[in-house]
């Protein structure tokens, strides 16, 4: 088992021995692994990852988002019914967002949310039995970045979940490197939706396409690609 960490595993593989850590004899199985009696079975094709002390999970390529509690997502408001907005977050069912879940929202002072707006929110409730629920305030009641994303000039790209995890991970410097050269504003939703806004539509297109295509690039490749874009941009 220890040898197959980092290797590609396919659904149905049986993972036999585990390197239980010293302290606890237990092993934590993340997404993609399932315990069947004594054996551990792989349910999703991908690369087996291991993190000290005893966490194993499968890193697979997926576009369909499975809601998880506490994650930030970008949703599209589809229906305004009564005091609850229904928001599409790309999961199995649309999430609900109460009008009170905004900073400073009261019965009379309702937030200005229209059908079709983009909302950056945190998942308060997310499990397989209940409808996912969103909120746009942090525990302190402040919006701290959450809320309705203004629709003037920004663009949203639908990508796979891996890319989002990649650009949010510390050792990937695409955002920093891009940011140095083209000032832009971005919101990254764990459900594979990235909102980007630069000064002009031309820059926004360049940044959006750069991020979208950087999925299979190493940092070096990303840096060269961005440098080429900037030259092209300058000669535009």
């Amino acid at each position: 088992m220890a040898d197959s960490v980092g290797k590609v595993v396919i659904p149905g593989d049986i993972l036999s021995e585990f390197r239980a850590s010293e302290k606890t004899s237990k092993v934590a199985l993340g997404p993609g692994l399932r315990q069947e009696g004594e054996e551990v079975l792989v349910t999703k094709g991908g690369i087996l990852r291991h993190k000290e002390p005893n966490l194993y999970w499968i890193d697979c390529h997926q576009r369909r988002y499975i809601p998880a509690k506490g994650e930030d997502v970008i949703g599209i408001v589809t229906v305004k019914s009564g005091d609850v907005y229904r928001v599409d977050i790309g999961a199995t069912q649309p999430a609900t967002l109460s009008y009170l879940a905004f900073e400073g929202a009261t019965k009379r002072n309702r937030p200005n949310v229209k059908v079709g707006d983009l909302v950056f929110a945190k998942l308060l409730v997310a499990n397989k039995d209940m409808e996912p629920e969103l909120v746009c305030i942090d525990s302190g009641g402040h919006s701290s970045g959450y809320g309705v994303i203004p629709a003037d000039g920004g663009f949203m790209v639908h990508t796979s979940l891996n890319l989002v995890r990649k650009i949010l991970s510390p050792n990937c410097d695409i955002l920093k490197f891009l940011g140095k050269n083209v000032p832009f504003e971005t919101a990254v939703g764990m459900n594979g939706r990235i909102w980007v806004k630069a000064k002009t539509p031309k820059d926004t297109i360049v940044v959006a396409n750069a991020i979208a295509s950087s999925e299979h690039m190493t940092n070096a490749q990303i840096r060269t690609m961005i440098r080429q874009l900037l030259d092209k941009l300058s000669g535009f």
Binding site: V8, D117, F155, K202, N219, Q228, G235
Partner: protein, 448 residues
């Protein structure tokens, strides 16, 4: 199952980009996406890839009794299937209104304009005639199904061969392909549709809208034309108002586009015919490019970097070591694994400066927005089989496992499109196994 809803933010952005004469995938206003026509093993089966929109057409024939009022004519039936596989918006069962409209346009474009001669399909007048049926299935909908379907239908019809038939008095014999080789249909002309999308009440105009542009457009116009600049069908219905001049301008643009598309179809047909004569393997399996990862790879789009030509040499030094052939898995960097031969460097260079013919005529038409998407591997990847420099193969089709498909070249050396007003910067030759040729081209571009 409804589609993913379109947020106002995306809608506003796309419209704003169009008003600035830009498109989110970097094409010009009159550019087609990468058009690829490939044929199956059987005669009459072809797949058309227009960008990511994929359409399969299959032609079949059977002998039937003719209709009473037309005893000496065979029948051509064209049916467009919008299968739910293509997009979540299509429902199985009865076709939606747009499905019916597309069916009718296809039918009018090919049948009413008598592209295929039905008189020649008659075997015994009044009793036995050929009934040719073209089934077009949409496999993936990334916008503009109409053009892809019309190209697929007419290409399949021209590619189809029906068994030869001989009539002796009453008795009709159908010859198997062994003793008499099958006969092609007599296709007079090849009508192809060009779709124009209109925005802001007809003020802005785009060719070949992709899916997001289709969802944002006010209305569309479909112009079906053939080589001889004859309009075979024209359909403009839906929520917007046009003026006469716009209609005439669209038909002129369509003339140019149709000429290129038909030229590509003709080349693909000839290429397939050569391959079949030479007895080489042909069919879809053959036409799948073997040296690409088909799953995770983003479509390679070329980078027009005429400005960066001076630093070409400096980029090459930085290139890392050559990776090994496909056989084993190679971990390039933490977090990524590479199965297969690895990505292709599409450092291809457009050596033509296409001025877009709009009024403001910028001095260098840069296919903007087309960022260095391709994973520009620093090194020129050598093909494992052929030795390096010497193979400046002139004709693409020379080496055997040359892929079946023919790309609509924009900067192609041999058949460079002459002075047509705007170029279809459709697709760079992303064919991976022609490194030698590419290098040569870059030098030429460098001298310009």
């Amino acid at each position: 199952m409804k589609e993913v809803p379109m947020s106002t933010c995306e809608r506003e952005f796309i419209l704003k980009a169009i008003r600035d004469r830009k498109r989110i995938d970097g094409r010009q206003t009159y550019d087609y996406r990468r058009l690829k026509v490939s044929f199956g093993m059987e005669r009459g089966c072809c797949i058309v890839d227009l960008g990511d929109t994929k359409v399969l057409a299959q032609v079949s024939g059977k002998i039937e009794e003719p209709k009473k009022n037309r005893p000496t004519e065979g029948s051509i039936i064209i049916n467009l299937e919008l299968s739910p596989m293509a997009s979540p918006a299509f429902e199985p069962g009865r076709p939606t209104e747009s499905g019916i409209e597309m069916n009718r346009i296809l039918e009018r474009n090919i049948r009413d304009s008598r592209a295929v001669d039905t008189e020649s399909l008659c075997i015994v007048a009044g009793e036995k005639v050929w009934s040719i049926r073209a089934d077009v299935h949409v496999l993936n909908d990334e916008g503009n199904i109409m053009d892809a379907a019309s190209i697929a239908a007419i290409t399949a019809l021209s590619h189809f061969r029906r068994p030869d038939v001989s009539v002796m008095g009453e008795e009709v014999t159908v010859h198997s392909p062994e003793d008499r080789d099958p006969v092609p249909l007599s296709v007079h002309h090849m009508p192809v549709c060009v779709t124009f999308a209109f925005f802001d009440q007809g003020e802005f105009l785009l060719v070949d809208p992709n899916r997001s542009e289709e969802r944002v457009m006010d209305g569309r116009m479909v112009v079906g034309m053939n080589m001889h600049r004859e309009i075979c069908t024209l359909m403009m219905s839906g929520g917007m108002l046009l003026v006469k001049e716009q209609v005439l301008r669209c038909s002129q643009i369509a003339t140019v586009k149709v000429a290129e598309i038909i030229e590509l179809i003709q080349r693909a047909l000839d290429k397939d015919a050569q391959a079949r004569q030479a007895g080489e393997k042909c069919g879809f399996a053959e036409s799948v490019p073997t040296n690409k990862i088909t799953t995770n790879r983003k479509e390679a789009t070329a980078i027009d970097t005429t400005a960066a030509a001076q630093q070409a040499s400096q980029v090459i030094q930085e290139a890392g070591p050559v990776d090994k052939p496909m056989s084993n898995m190679l971990v390039q960097a933490p977090g990524t694994v590479q199965i297969g031969e690895g990505l292709v460097n599409t450092w291809d260079v457009d050596d033509e400066d296409m001025e877009s013919e709009e009024k403001e005529g910028r001095e260098k038409s840069v296919t903007n927005g087309r960022e260095a998407v391709a994973t520009s591997k620093p090194t020129e990847r050598k093909r494992p089989v052929k030795a390096g420099e010497g193979t400046v193969s002139h004709a693409e089709g020379s080496d055997s496992e040359e892929e079946e498909t023919v790309m609509l070249f924009q900067g192609d050396d041999e058949t460079k499109s002459t002075e047509e007003p705007d170029s279809t910067a459709l697709m760079q030759p992303s064919n991976s196994d022609k490194p030698a040729k590419k290098k040569g081209k870059k030098k030429k571009a460098a001298q310009k």
